[in-house]
């Protein structure tokens, strides 16, 4: 099990982060006593550190330097400051990456995973092969493929993103807005028509696995994945 050490003074934020990260199988430890962060660090011996800059007593830069004296473990800064200088300062004080508030869960997870992969190699990557299983329909988000029983189908990046969203919320309606937002990456923007096209393609991919009519269109709201294959 991978251990994450969280140094952040906002208890509510810590709570949300811990809940989220524990869902993905990490063990978390949140610092309560900001006088002796390094002592806690050494006692917990984590694989990765999430570190805020604005902290009581000493700032994150200071603690990062202290941690660097005893360890080379990856340090990920999470801060409201988005100035270039702050990011440079963070990196120069020994950080490995930087996220600005407000942030998305997905970005935190992606950065944590990429840092872990870099620091611990394949040992960590097994842990993070993110699979979603809905009644034996298995989506491998990293390898972009979907399988049901013996059958398998390759997916495009966007198709995988759509299925990821639908499967995580199976039996619930996922709004068009949310899907559009999820598949709008830095390279392309997607309008309603394109989304229709992608959903059609996802349906075809499911049909290859002999799953039909699983994705329902809910008029005026969005799409819903009903696990109708489980009853067969």
């Amino acid at each position: 099990m991978l251990k994450i050490f969280i140094v952040e003074d906002d208890t509510r934020l810590v709570e949300l982060l811990e809940n989220f990260l524990q869902k993905y199988g990490f063990i978390t430890y949140a610092v309560k006593n900001f006088d002796a962060v390094t002592a806690d660090f050494q006692a917990f011996d984590p694989h990765i550190v999430l570190l805020d800059i604005n902290l009581p007593k000493f700032d994150g830069f200071y603690w990062c330097r202290q941690i660097r004296v005893v360890s080379t473990c990856p340090v990920l800064f999470v801060s409201a400051r988005e100035g270039k200088m702050d990011q440079v300062m963070a990196l120069e004080n020994g950080a490995d990456d930087y996220i600005t508030k407000p942030f998305d869960y997905e970005i935190v997870l992606a950065k944590i995973n990429s840092l872990l992969r870099r620091a611990y190699g394949t040992y960590a990557s097994n842990q993070n092969g993110r699979n979603i299983n809905v009644h034996n329909l298995i989506l491998d988000v990293e390898r972009l493929c979907i399988s049901y029983g013996e059958q398998q189908a390759e997916l495009s990046y966007t198709e995988a993103k759509i299925l990821d969203e639908l499967m995580r919320k199976s039996e619930h309606v996922v709004s068009r807005d949310r899907l559009l937002e999820k598949i709008w990456d830095d390279q392309t923007f997607v309008d309603d028509n394109t989304l229709n096209v992608y959903v059609t393609r996802v349906r075809k991919k499911l049909a290859q696995l002999k799953i039909t009519n699983a994705i329902q269109t809910v008029r005026g709201q969005g799409y819903r994945l009903m696990p109708n294959w489980s009853s067969r």
């Binding site: 934020l13 919320k169 937002e181 309603d192």
Partner: protein, 323 residues
């Protein structure tokens, strides 16, 4: 010279009057030899003239100083000649300048404090914002969507506060580099995706490959965000596009942001860059603060970019930035 004459004229008049009075008294006393009187007058006038010349020469720089217009506070300093009036004036000025400098320093200090406070405050507000953001992130109902919309607005408001406060310390907060225009616009449009999607308005990128600009990424991103916010806000028809197009003018790269929204009435156009000016559209659209374009213009001025705006009421607006 003129000032000197004006200043000494009453003295000269009194002096002449005095001469006449004395002459008259002698005359009434029975002295009839006007030649002697005239000679006395001449001698006395020579002395008076000599005094005036001496006065003028010793105080010349002082009079010159008083008549030349000031262009800056530093012009106040001058090397006084050894005469009591210029010396005391210089003393007086020194005091005055010292007081002013004290005042200015105090205000500057206060302003710096204020800016620092605002910076800190905005950053503090970002933590609760993150918390709310995380709380609603995985939800997809109508309620959470509205909360997300409001969060976006809060975020934008905070950003606006931060950047407005930073305008004053621009020189310390500026880092110019070569940027790929197309990458930059993609990044900014992507960061505003929720705004686009919610309003069913989509960006269309028509940027020449390899267009590069030299500027500060953070400021230009903020600038483009302002333009996007305006373009989306004033486009009421879903499905419309906001076009980002590059162009070349006088060998420089420029960016056009074109929307097909309500446009700006011709009478309002000259004033759109004024602070707090909302014009005709401000009365129909709730969120007009009149600050967006003002700040855009301020940023452009400081970055050395040119911004201009063209609009036909009812059929759209084009904002051009020449980098």
């Amino acid at each position: 010279m003129k000032l000197f004459i004006r200043e000494q004229l009453p003295l000269a008049l009194i002096y002449i009057l005095q001469l006449l009075v004395i002459l008259l008294i002698y005359r009434l006393d029975g002295h009839t030899d006007w030649k002697i009187s005239l000679y006395a007058c001449l001698l006395s006038s020579c002395l008076f003239g000599g005094y005036l010349v001496y006065r003028y020469i010793t105080n010349r720089s002082f009079y010159q100083k008083l008549t030349t217009p000031l262009s800056s506070l530093n012009d106040l300093k001058f090397s006084p000649q050894d005469a009591p009036l210029p010396e005391s004036l210089e003393q007086f000025q020194k005091e005055l300048i010292r007081h002013y400098k004290m005042d200015i320093y105090n205000y500057k200090h206060k302003l710096d404090h204020h800016i620092q406070f605002i910076n800190q405050w905005v950053h503090q507000m970002k933590t609760p914002l993150s918390v709310i953001h995380l709380m609603v992130q995985d939800r997809d109902d109508e309620f959470s969507q509205s909360v997300k919309d409001e969060l976006d607005r809060l975020k934008k408001g905070l950003e606006m506060v931060l950047y407005t406060a930073r305008l004053d310390t621009f020189d310390r907060d500026f880092y110019a580099e070569t940027l790929d225009l197309s990458e930059l616009v993609k990044k900014v449009t992507s960061s505003q995706k929720r705004l686009f999607i919610r309003n069913r308005i989509y960006p269309e990128l028509a940027i020449e490959k390899g267009s590069s600009i030299t500027s500060d990424e953070k400021w230009v991103s903020f600038l483009i965000t302002q333009l996007i916010t305006n373009a989306v806000r004033y486009t009421e028809i879903p499905g419309e596009k906001v076009v980002f197009r590059s162009f070349i003018q006088d060998g420089k790269t420029g960016l056009e942001v074109i929307d097909h929204g309500v446009g700006i009435p011709k009478s309002d156009l000259p004033r759109v860059f004024d602070p707090y000016f909302t014009g005709e559209n401000g009365r129909h659209f709730q969120e007009s603060t009149g600050m967006g374009l003002f700040i855009a213009k301020q940023i452009c001025d400081r970055l050395g970019h040119r911004i201009s705006i063209d609009s036909v009421s009812g059929s759209g607006t084009t904002v051009r930035i020449l980098f």
